[in-house]
């Protein structure tokens, strides 16, 4: 009897473990704040976002969060039939998840844009490329920020 119970407990434990494993596999490894996901959903709608085709270049370590150089490029032929329509950049721990939206087209020649951004904290930045066929592609980059932006007094 005792033995049967322990077997049942073992099986229940194993099932719980498998369930937990499945949850971990579905959600990203880092705890992504909900606001960023909501902001991304607002842009993307119900379309799926696939990893790849987008290259996000950020320094892995930034001494000053007030100015962090950012370059985004998307693999695309940039022809009238197949081009990048927009590039969106999001952060998870800034006061506002949206950073910038670039709108380009076949006249751009290549889908590569650079700017400088502010980061309020050590965090992960997400770039999403919107293609002319309606598909969305993404890339992420983690940045360690030593001096945070937005906190100092004027």
């Amino acid at each position: 009897m005792n033995r049967a119970t322990s077997r049942r407990e073992f099986l229940a434990g194993a099932a719980a473990g498998l369930g937990l494993g499945a949850v971990i596999a579905v959600t990203p490894a880092h705890a992504t704040p909900q606001e960023m996901q909501d902001a991304i959903r607002k842009v993307v709608g119900s379309a799926p976002v696939t990893k790849g085709r987008v290259k996000l270049e950020l320094p892995p370590l930034s001494e000053n969060g007030n100015t962090v150089p950012l370059t985004v490029s998307v693999e695309s032929a940039m022809t009238p039939a197949d081009h990048v329509r927009a590039i969106h950049v999001f952060t998870e721990l800034n006061p506002q998840p949206e950073v910038v939206t670039f709108r380009l087209g076949p006249r751009a020649g290549r889908a590569r844009v650079s700017t400088r951004i502010r980061l309020a904290n050590t965090q992960t930045v997400t770039a999403i490329g919107e293609l002319s066929d309606g598909s969305f592609w993404s890339a992420t980059a983690a940045v360690v920020v030593t001096l945070a932006a937005c906190l100092e007094d004027a």
């Binding site: 087209g105 006249r107 844009v113 502010r118 004027a154």
Partner: protein, 106 residues
Amino acid sequence: MANALINVPDRTRRGEIVEIKTLISHPMETGYRRSQLGARIPRDIIRLFVCTYNGTEVFRAELHPAITANPFFVFSTVATESGTLTFQWTGDNGFSVTETAAITVD
């Protein structure tokens, strides 16, 4: 008055992809900072940057407070014909600056 710096190659060949760099002086006050008296400093940012090539829009950026002071952009366009590139920045408190640059395509 806001000062803008624009870097466009002045001579290129037709069909070549040219890189354009722009920088404009602007504080890009986020609206999240407080003064020493604790009062919130109101937001004052550039909201939109548009680049047109002989009247056709080739690039547009929608800015949020997370863009640094003195917004800097590097982007590209295909040199199709000689003409002018027009750059326009618009933002809070009626901010609006328009600059032009000439481009010669051989």
